[in-house]
């Protein structure tokens, strides 16, 4: 399951970035961007279902495993094509590519548990869309229009 970001909750504290780099030998797969000093966005690999990075990888180092895009460093030749192909700039490191591995071994990726404002979630897809839907429905319901 990829990590979903609720942009409205992100306060750009960089907690996810730090947690990721602390648990991945100093390399972070999460990037916190502040846009126009108005919005914080925590950018994390989308684990696309038809991932451009997999399409360009001729060494077979990037593979789709279930809902995840997994990088096998032993197969990687360091050509850097995946970095060029990622539409979100979330593969870093050039010839030694690094991307979000969703913290194998943990039930929940560390960036999700560490986020102070609860902006990140890793639930199933339905939960994410459903969450926004429920919020919007609540707002409408609170408008007070009654039968």
């Amino acid at each position: 399951m990829p990590v979903y970001v609720d942009v409205g909750r992100c306060v750009a504290c960089h907690g996810c970035e730090m947690a990721c780099s602390v648990s991945h030998q100093g390399r972070s797969g999460v990037f916190v961007q502040v846009v126009d000093d108005l919005v914080g966005v925590s950018m994390i690999c989308r684990h696309c279902q038809d991932a451009p990075c997999i399409r360009v990888c001729y060494a077979g180092a990037l593979q789709q495993e279930g809902t995840e895009v997994v990088l096998d460093e032993t197969l990687c030749t360091g050509c850097g094509l995946c970095q060029a192909a990622c539409p979100f700039g979330l593969i870093s490191g050039g010839t030694r590519p690094f991307k979000c591995d969703l913290c194998p071994g943990l039930q929940t990726p560390l960036c999700v548990t560490t986020c102070p404002s609860g902006a990140l979630s890793d639930g199933p897809f339905q939960a994410v869309a459903g969450h926004f839907r429920a919020l919007a429905a609540q707002k409408l319901a609170r408008s007070g229009v009654r039968r």
């Binding site: 409205g8 909750r9 306060v11 750009a12 504290c13 960089h14 907690g15 970035e17 730090m18 947690a19 780099s21 602390v22 126009d36 000093d37 108005l38 919005v39 914080g40 943990l106 039930q107 929940t108 560390l110 548990t113 560490t114 986020c115 102070p116 404002s117 609860g118 919020l135 609540q138 609170r142």
Partner: protein, 697 residues
């Protein structure tokens, strides 16, 4: 009482706990050493080295979350620049000493100056980063030497809260637990940028917001906290009192106040009403720059919601009218009856992990432990008997600000500074430097060679939080234990060891073996801590008179004042002395950024935080920048009457025209601020200074 919707202690095993069979690896529970939220995590220790941080998913404060500073706290423990040996300044540089020599020198100097010039020639600064036990001992050391000059950096952040809230409602702390914010239906945030400084609060605030709460943020800047707001009130720096008074007056005019609460639980409404006779919304609009309509909307939202909370920070307190600001906050909450219930309350957000504890322990010159007044004869009697001392001062001594004055004036001759960096944190750096230079003797006890330590005659290496035992009291009055995870580097020692041994060298009666023996005495001597004998996994809240019994929400039935009533105190708005003029056309305000902490002595040495932000930024509005021909990233000089400093421009629409913002984590910032202070609490004006900015050529 237990609150609805508060997380209880659930699974005790952390999700990522991976204790191997190797006996040399262990997990030590501890509390974050940075801000005052009191987040819990484990330190994984392997062969004496702290290797990893594992946030506690079962901890009621952070629920497994941690901000970047918390993650980076590991880097201070085994930092190569840690002080390892006692050092003495000589003509040829620093000379390494043994502990016996160092303590003897310190004791001799304190004794010599105390004997010749009297105990009032001594000054003690205790540390809000140290444990409750250490703060208790440091103030005891000072007072048993007959010296009333003992203070801490609580002076610089929330002295006005301690004074102001005590005057109006008898208690000077957060009234409701932080997580209780989730139960609020309206949250007014004034002068607090919690999203950066107490990120964990965002969790609870957003939870409330999703349940339909209104979030109002009053801040000159559009901070990350303001990003979350439903309503942002961009007031001019230094006009908080006017904003609050305008709201209070509007609530009175519209009859939105809680008449029943005001009648049953408060006194002084008529004085308040008459003091606000000329404080119309229109006047508030003129002063604050926030439209009357917006003010009225905010006032109505706060007054009419079933549960409203006020969160405030140093934007209210760090002013020459800081105490008035705090009293104005109290007036608003009292008037609307937004106290004593879940989701309500006043939450002054304390900055340091143990600033609440330092105040509780009497590391403020106005109070003996447990907020007992020195002027009260019983106080001196009780502590005199407890400590076996006949020379306890029955008066308030000098505040940390006044100590600098006295040093310049020549009446204060020696200072013993524990875990503080006044050069960086006090206003008007050149004056502070002069003051410390004019001392006969300066001893500094710290974990790094701070800017202040560089000036000392004697430097003592202390242990950091992971290297000692004790208790911290978080902003929400939660007293929690920390455990020793690693050994201090070199010959560094716990502050508790240093202070006790210094006291023994001075011939004082300090019969303490460890932190728990001190804590037992605290439980006996400090009434609000009386029942906190067993702190369990997640600590306990004060006031606690019987073990296991405490109120997480204060003021439910009465206020801890004589008569049990709270008082309305007319909060007078005084215009800032620092009006921008021809020479200094802009207004400088200071604050904090998420990746640094206070004077920066720790975070400026933490590589992973420096990787995110490593230089002093000067934030300014695009309009001002255009006039001065400054673009993003330019090196600029900021000048005030006090001095000048350089930084890198950050041009941003998030700051209003005419205002300049600089974080105070870098030594340069406090070269610019001056020495105006609140007459009652002596908190310095750090939030509004007239300045000019120039591009470096």
């Amino acid at each position: 009482m237990r609150l609805p919707g508060l997380p209880g202690a659930t699974a005790a095993v952390p999700e990522v706990m991976s204790v191997s069979d190797e006996s040399d690896r262990s997990m030590v529970a501890t509390i974050c050493p940075y801000c005052a939220c009191g987040c819990g995590f484990y330190l994984e220790v392997e062969r004496g080295q702290a290797r990893r941080i594992i946030p506690r998913s079962d901890h009621p404060v952070n629920q497994g979350a941690l901000c970047p500073k918390g993650w980076a706290s590991l880097e201070m423990i085994h930092h190569p620049e840690r002080l390892k040996w006692p050092l003495r300044r000589t003509a040829d540089g620093w000379e390494r000493l043994s502990w016996q020599q160092a303590l003897q020198i310190l004791a001799d100097n304190l004794r010599r100056i105390g004997d010749t010039r009297g105990p009032d020639a001594l000054g003690f600064l205790s540390s809000t980063k140290c444990t409750n036990e250490e703060n208790y001992l440091i103030q005891k050391l000072a007072r048993t030497m007959g010296c009333a000059n003992v203070d801490s950096c609580a002076r610089l952040c929330h002295a006005s809260t301690v004074v102001g809230l005590r005057r109006s409602m008898g208690s000077c702390s957060v009234t409701n637990p932080l997580s209780d914010l989730a139960n609020s239906r309206c949250i007014l945030v004034i002068g607090s940028n919690f999203a950066e400084n107490h990120p964990i609060l965002a969790r609870w605030v957003l939870q409330a917001k999703e349940a339909g709460a209104t979030l109002i943020v009053a801040d000159p800047r559009r901070t990350p906290t303001a990003w979350l707001a439903d309503q942002h009130l961009p007031l001019r720096p230094g006009t908080d009192v006017a904003l609050l008074n305008g709201m209070v007056r509007h609530i009175l005019d519209q009859g939105l106040h809680d008449r029943d609460f005001v009648q049953r639980r408060t006194t002084g409404l008529e004085q308040l009403r008459s003091s606000l006779a000329d404080f119309s919304l229109a006047r508030a609009e003129r002063i604050t720059g926030v439209s009357a309509g917006e003010l009225a909307r905010a006032a109505r939202a706060y007054a009419s919601s079933p549960a409203s909370a006020v969160v405030y920070g140093m934007g209210v307190t760090q002013h020459a009218s800081g105490t008035a600001g705090v009293e104005a906050v109290a007036n608003l909450a009292l008037l609307c009856g937004q106290l004593g219930r879940p989701g309500t309350g006043i939450l002054p957000m304390r900055g340091q992990n143990n600033v609440q504890g330092a105040c509780d322990m009497g590391a403020m010159t106005e109070f003996y432990p447990g907020y007992r007044l020195p002027e009260d004869p019983r106080t001196v009697q009780v502590f005199g008997a407890a400590w076996g001392s006949t020379c306890l001062p029955a008066r308030k001594g000098l505040t940390s600000m006044e100590m600098m004055d006295a040093a310049l004036f020549g009446t204060l001759k020696a200072m013993y500074i524990v875990g503080e960096d006044p050069i960086c944190s006090h206003p008007d750096q050149s004056r502070t430097r002069q003051a410390l230079q004019s001392l006969d003797f300066l001893a500094v006890q710290d974990i790094f060679m701070t800017e202040t330590a560089e000036m000392a005659d004697l430097v003592l290496p202390a242990a950091c939080w992971a290297e000692k035992e004790g208790t911290f009291t978080s902003a929400e009055r939660r007293v929690q234990r920390i455990y020793r995870a690693t050994d201090p580097p070199g010959e560094a020692r716990e502050d508790l060891w240093i202070v006790s041994n210094l006291a023994r060298t001075l011939g004082l009666n300090f019969p303490y073996t460890d932190a728990s023996s001190v804590f037992q005495e605290i439980c006996r001597r400090v009434t609000i801590y009386k029942g906190l004998v067993d702190l369990g996994d997640f600590g306990g809240f004060w006031p606690c008179l019987e073990p296991g019994k405490w109120n997480e929400i204060l003021h439910q039935d009465c206020f801890p004042t004589e008569g049990g009533l709270a008082r309305f105190l007319p909060a007078t708005y005084c215009p800032s002395t620092q009006e921008p003029g021809a020479d200094y056309p802009l207004l400088l305000t200071t604050g904090r950024k998420v990746c640094h902490f206070n004077s920066g002595s720790i975070t400026r040495r933490t590589p992973s935080l420096l990787a995110i932000s490593d230089h002093l930024v000067v934030e300014m509005n695009p309009e001002d920048a255009a006039v001065l021909e400054i673009v993003e990233g330019d090196r600029v000089w900021v000048k005030t009457v006090q001095g000048s400093a350089s930084g890198y421009a950050h041009v941003s629409g998030s700051i209003p025209a005419g205002v300049v913002f600089m974080p105070f984590h870098f030594p340069a910032t406090n070269r610019l601020t001056g020495d105006a202070r609140d007459p009652i609490s002596h908190i310095p004006e750090l939030k509004a200074w007239a300045c000019q900015v120039k591009k470096e050529v």
